[in-house]
Amino acid sequence: MNKRRIAGVALFLIAVGGLLGLGYQTRNRSSAGGSITTVGSTALQPLVEAAGEQFSGDHLGVFINVQGGGSGTGLSQIQEGAVAIGDSDVFAEEQSGIHSHNLVDHRVAVVGIVPIINKEVGLKTLTTAQLQKVFDGTYTNWRELGGKNVPITIVNRAQGSGTRATFEKWALRGHRVKTAQEQDSSGMVRSIVSTTPGAISYVAFSYANKTVQKVAINGVAPTNQNVTSNKWQVWSYEHMYTNGRPKGVAKSFLNYIESPKIQSTLVRQLGYISISQMHVERDVKGRVTVIR
């Protein structure tokens, strides 16, 4: 009896000790310089993940932990210094609650955003004014715009989503939109638009496939070429923020992502536009300057 109890206690201690030991062995060694964590934008996540894998392949024993959570999370985590890099679709200055003076911006890619509608609506181009009136609820049926007789169903991204912020700022010119249904991922938005008659929404270029109809704005087609010359104005930078100047692994990882090797391969394969392709530069206030 007594022996059994001792065995029980010993087993318990071994189990607890083993778990703690395992946790200690696999702990996050960001302070030791072995690996770093990046958190934030889900739009940028695929690129950071793919680049992180290649980076680990080139640098033995170094790991890049990539987590989503949204641009807001990325910015707040980097502000608190909880992670090495915070990913965001928007400038830190645009996010309320963020004190941006400490954060250092690294622009690693550009992503274009396009309005998408259900294929059966029968429209291929809209003007800015028409888009504004669709999203503020003035138009309720596609017939009023020359399309088929189906009611308009607006599908928004969640409040605070980087894609939504970019779309409202550049496609709707800050026009206030009507409250409508919201979805929290681009994939979900696309599948809803493709199956719901009369639905309209907006996604990054990489998400707009053949199941939905891309809409040209004011006659300008949503192509990478038009983004690089700013003829298509609905685009945003993908930012990777560090708290202060980057050091150690974070620095070499950022250099790696910004290097021509990644910019000319992974960035393009995954549907982003490389920074080096851009013919213009846009600052936080929206002023556009031509790069020579």
Binding site: G72, G97, A158, Q159, G160, A180, Q181, E182, D184
Partner: protein
């Protein structure tokens, strides 16, 4: 002589092991208590910041109809009206409980009274299986089956209270069913025997005696189901449409407290108004689940089988 005295006055092996046991279980209790209090304190501190730090009127929060924390409204205060979500949550909870209850009672009665042998063999494992299905699976089925169905039959975009009700109905059905079945099982056998001996038919016995005696337990089961429906986030979020609008019909996109919470929390920054407002929603949720618990307590105490 002295030796015996000493031995009698010493604490025995059994006493010591009992003390040790009591100490360990007391420690476990303290740990749980600390965790619960910490959660309450955390949610309350964060949730009340909206009212104390950002000076939002509690009345405006509970009765406002516009939810747009990043935009300032006509009175210069941010628009954090939670009424659409509160209404959405209650509507979806009540409707799904309303739909689930007859099915649950029917199944439980069949399992216990009409076909106890087959019921226990087939229906019991089936309902228990339903409990184990993760909510994301329910949500996915809702999205790919229920939403298109609702769109074809009832019109609209398919997203809304009605789809949410259908999904939650299936989710809370097993909870309500198995708890109702347990209550029916606990109705003493001699109640039924007495009723049958008086010449009542089986239907009369079930209807007038068994169900009557089990009413408090069945009510508890329903409230339990409602508590689960109220707190369910993922599956509802996938089918309800997440529009912070007061639902004007059952197929218009609307939202619940949980759906707005899960959708918004990743896009806000800790300490900002947008984030605090979400914590206030969490506080409302917490208070509501406390409320459900209290109701269960009261029903349980009033209707104990004696």
């Amino acid at each position: 002589m002295d030796k015996i005295k000493e031995k009698l006055q010493q604490t025995s092996q059994a006493t010591r092991s009992e003390r040790r046991g009591r100490f360990i279980s007391f420690l476990a209790l303290i740990l749980i208590l600390v965790v619960v209090i910490a959660i309450f304190w955390f949610v309350a501190a964060k949730g009340l910041a909206t009212f104390f730090q950002n000076h939002i009127n509690v009345g405006d929060f509970l009765s406002g109809k516009t939810w747009d924390p990043s935009v300032k409204g006509a009175n210069g205060k941010p628009e954090v009206g939670a009424l659409p979500m509160i209404v959405g949550s209650f509507l979806i909870t009540l409707l799904s409980a309303l739909v689930a209850t007859p099915f649950a009672i029917g199944t439980a009665v069949f399992m216990n009274e009409i076909a106890p042998r087959n019921g226990a063999k087939i229906l019991q494992p089936v309902t228990e299986l339903l409990v184990g299905i993760p909510s994301v699976v329910y949500g996915f089925i809702g999205l790919s089956v229920v939403v298109p169905f609702v769109r074809h039959v009832f019109g609209g975009s398919g997203f809304g209270i009605l789809s949410g009700t259908f999904v939650l109905f299936v989710m809370i059905l097993p909870t309500v069913t198995s708890m109702t079945a347990d209550t029916l099982k606990s109705v003493p056998r001699y109640y039924r025997e007495a009723s049958l001996a008086l010449g009542a038919t089986r239907w009369q016995t079930i209807h007038k005696v068994v169900l009557r005696a089990a009413t408090p337990g069945i009510l508890t089961a329903i409230v339990f189901g409602m508590a689960r429906a109220f707190g369910e986030a993922l599956a509802v979020q996938m089918v309800v449409g997440n529009a912070t609008l007061l639902p004007h019909n059952l197929v218009s996109p609307s939202s619940t407290l949980t759906s707005v919470l899960t959708e918004g929390i990743g896009n806000t920054v800790m300490g900002s108004l947008q984030n605090n407002a979400l914590w206030s929603l969490a506080l409302v949720l917490l208070i509501m689940s406390l409320f459900f618990n209290v109701i269960i307590r009261i029903i349980g105490r009033k209707g104990e089988l004696r």
